[in-house]
């Protein structure tokens, strides 16, 4: 079997390198060997690839025949007797901050054997160039700070809760006749949420959610403008029909671990002193709404630096309560 194997060590975590490789739309920005790649990275998928070793672009349609997310992607072409190829992108973690990228290809069949003296000297240097470009891109992303807005309540520093703060009024965004609710307690369990089920202000990656005892929540003005938002979620969200802002969400299921609590957005209050967010929930969900996964290390680092431990679920304490509650029902 004829083979080209090239390798490079990269000062960035393996997952950043993998996510750059899986960001097919951006290949044109950095990859001269593979300037275009489309299809879905799924086992068995036929990809459309512009492959340009030596600067000579050719369109190929290889099939993905091995895929282990974050570690290995192999694709290849097959023409019986004439051509067999297996091109592998392999990412091997060396530590939490360092990895090795292997860019390798096996060649079989008549064509590569006849043309090897023309293939190998052209392909190998370009595989190495691709590796260097990948290294530069990954290391730059790993070094960069994530600076886009996470949420206005934390973007310019977190304001602490005020002692003995006992609630306030929340109003929707309508200028005329806003829906108003009065909350007569300080918020409990305040956190950022990456979930798309939770309302996010314009331009923010996260929602800011607080829980309060339902008995402390009263609708005090323009209740007729509130309507139930259609959702399969067991949590019922009530939003203003006009401006769309959700004013409260209720847990109607008595079996729910957090039955008795309502969800509110305290940023809708002009009163200051509410409990600030204490952790970040459902962080990976922001990838679903468009944040590139290779930027998520930057998002999590910034959250951690603000003291908001990132979780892809709720906080460990809340998850334990939910699991214990569902265990006790069995």
């Amino acid at each position: 079997m004829l083979n080209i194997t090239t390798e490079i060590e990269i000062d960035a975590p393996a997952h950043i390198v993998w996510n750059i490789l899986d960001d097919l739309d951006s290949y044109g920005e950095w990859n001269q060997l593979v300037p275009e790649l489309s299809g879905r990275t799924t086992l068995g998928e036929k990809m459309k690839v512009l492959f340009a070793p030596g600067g000579k672009a050719q369109k190929i349609q290889p099939v993905i025949h091995r895929l282990v997310a974050l570690r290995a992607l192999h694709w290849g072409s097959k023409i019986p007797l004439l051509l067999f190829t297996d091109h592998g992108f392999i990412v091997t973690p060396l530590s939490d901050e360092r990895c090795k990228f292997t860019n390798c290809e096996d060649f079989g069949g008549l064509f590569p054997r006849l043309l090897w003296k023309k293939i190998q000297p052209v392909f190998e240097p370009d595989y190495n160039k691709m590796n260097v470009a990948l290294k530069h891109r990954a290391e730059a992303i790993y070094r960069a700070k994530f600076s886009a807005s996470l949420h206005p309540v934390i973007d310019n520093g977190i304001k602490p809760a005020v002692d003995n703060f006992a609630g306030g009024a929340l109003r929707c965004k309508c200028n005329d006749e806003p829906v108003e609710i009065q909350v007569t307690a300080q918020a409990l369990h305040s956190y950022l949420s990456g979930s798309n089920d939770d309302w996010k202000p314009e331009g923010a990656l996260f929602s800011f959610v607080s829980m309060v005892p339902a008995e402390n929540v009263t609708i005090t003005a323009n209740e007729s403008k509130l309507e139930l938002v259609e959702s399969s979620d067991p949590i019922k969200r009530y939003a203003c029909k006009h401006c769309g802002v959700p004013m409260r969400a209720c847990i109607e299921d008595k079996e729910h671990a957090f039955y008795g609590l309502d969800y509110i957005h305290t940023e809708l209050s002009s009163d200051e002193g509410w409990t600030p967010p204490t952790f970040a929930a459902y962080v990976s969900d922001v990838v679903r709404s468009g944040t590139k996964p290779q930027l998520m290390t930057g998002v999590r680092k910034r959250l951690s630096a603000l003291g908001l431990a990132p979780s892809d679920a709720l906080s460990p304490d809340m998850m334990d309560r939910i699991a214990a509650h569902s265990g006790s029902k069995k």
């Binding site: 799924t42 570690r71 460990p316 309560r321």
Partner: protein
């Protein structure tokens, strides 16, 4: 609490050779099912969920993945039975000893399509490094008391094993990205 209380075959040494090929054998003394792995395994981790197989009396399951073209049932395949046909990961268990030999994903749209799940403690070669512990809070659904969770989490972290109530952030990001791709 000692780390071996969480799982007896955890290899904590950084230098533990990465598992790259070997055979898994079920617990039957006669005609055991045998699975051959012919490639590098990845993402070896502990799992607190109740669906994964674990040895008797152990809190966590230990589970890794391998590319599905690099796994083959080599002996006594007829003894394998799917535990739950409706689960996204179909766990193939030995009918006689109950050990799960491989978990397979058949839906091409599923985020885990392309990999098989294996328990490396079933091999002579032993384990690979544990990268993280997932679904830790799910231990409570299996009967652990809430007061014990602090110690479980502390023991894991002190031994260099990050703990999560889902999969690791890297894997959760890949799953989220996959969901966006198929949306």
């Amino acid at each position: 609490m000692a780390i071996t209380d969480l799982h007896p075959s955890i290899k904590m040494s950084e230098s533990a050779a990465d598992f790259s090929s070997g055979e898994l054998t079920c617990k039957c003394s006669e005609n055991p099912v045998e699975v051959v792995i012919s490639g590098k395994v990845a993402h070896n981790h502990l799992c607190g969920c109740s669906a994964c197989w674990k040895p008797e009396g152990v809190l966590f399951s230990q589970i890794a993945v391998v590319a599905k073209d690099q796994l083959r049932v080599s002996k006594n395949e007829n003894k394998l039975k799917i535990v739950n046909e409706n689960a996204a990961i179909q766990r193939h268990a030995c009918k006689d000893c109950g050990v799960h030999m491989v978990g397979k994903v058949t839906d091409p749209d599923h985020h885990y399509f392309g990999i098989d799940f294996v328990h490396l403690e079933l091999s002579k070669e032993g384990a690979a490094k544990i990268e993280f512990a997932g679904y830790v809070s799910s231990l409570l659904e299996g009967g652990l008391e809430i007061g014990q969770m602090g110690e479980v989490r502390k023991t894991l972290v002190e031994n260099g094993i990050p703990c999560y109530d889902t999969m690791s952030p890297e894997i959760m990001d890949v799953i989220a990205y996959h969901k966006r791709k198929i949306a």
